[in-house]
């Protein structure tokens, strides 16, 4: 559970930086295609986005796992929930990382 607290605190700090960076220009402008690509291509910022992705995926799916474990108990069910959430977490991180890496390497 310490990982849940740790990821929450780290995510709050990094998401705050992320929001502040978005405020350097208008909100709609910051979401324009070229600006988003530029963000991904700026390596330090891309690393921060990757970190946010990992932190939120771990925090979110661990939270979901805890909620599901509280709803119902049983050895098989608990195993299925834990491994299911872990698989979903890895899947989401892989998919998000793929987008960041592909954009960073100029494949988009």
């Amino acid at each position: 559970m310490k990982i849940h607290y740790g990821t929450a605190l780290a995510a709050v700090a990094l998401v705050a930086v992320h929001i502040l960076m978005r405020l350097t220009m208008g909100y709609a402008e910051s979401l324009e295609y070229e600006n988003v690509l530029a963000n991904y291509k700026f390596v330090p910022y891309a690393i921060m986005l990757e970190l946010i992705l990992v932190l939120l995926a771990v925090h979110g799916f661990n939270g979901l796992r805890v909620i599901l474990l509280e709803l119902k108990q049983g050895r098989l069910y608990e195993k299925a929930v834990s491994y299911g959430c872990l698989a979903a977490m890895i899947g989401l991180i892989a998919y998000g990382s793929r987008t960041i890496i592909m954009t960073n390497m100029g494949m988009v």
């Binding site: 559970m1 310490k2 607290y5």
Partner: protein, 251 residues
Amino acid sequence: MAQVSSVSSEQSPTAKSIVLRISRFNPEHDESSQFMEFNVKYEKWTTVLEAILDVKKHFDHSVAVRYSCRQATCGSCGMIINGKPRLACFTKISELDSNVITVEPMNNFPVIRDLAVKFEKLFDTHQKIKPYLIRDDTEIESDEKEFLQSPEEVEQYIQFANCIKCGLCNSACPTMATDSSFVGPQALAQAYRYVADSRDKGKDSRLKIIDDSHGIWRCHFAGSCSQVCPKGVDPAMGIQLLRGYMLGFRS
């Protein structure tokens, strides 16, 4: 199954009467619980337990209720009285301020019959957290004195030593209602009681026991456990302090 009866025992003229609704349920042949109603006379000092025993004496001796000391020491007569977990022997009818008193078995415990519930899980989880002092030097050498403590050290845990294992905190806990494997506020408060004791050396083993997927982190800090404790123990605070040990804020 509901019936209305009246206790006409030798009561003083000052006695008032209430309707006592008792939940009846025998898991061996009932599908759901039903209430039986009794008109019971009471004085301002009459407790709910005395009213139930009046019913047993005069109307229906088959009403199942567990009790022993009648002075809030043994922790046997916990039940839901007008929707709140209380000790029947420690709850006066006059203080409930109602003409209808409803008594039900405690929540989050399997019912044996009527108002009596099984305490096995409570005792199992209590035992699981090793409710005793753990030390390497269990034998005191002849030239040594007792394990002395300062008043400040005693203050750290003394209120938690008042627990009488009545199970009211577990009955009030919303997490226990959904998570049948949750260790519960009673055991967690007792874990804190021994972890915070300066004479104890078993902190690490206890913290390991409660740091599992149905352990201390499942507490949502609703605080209902502390509200219902008849002995003034504050399990919710104990759990938060215990989390301080888990996270390294306390040592």
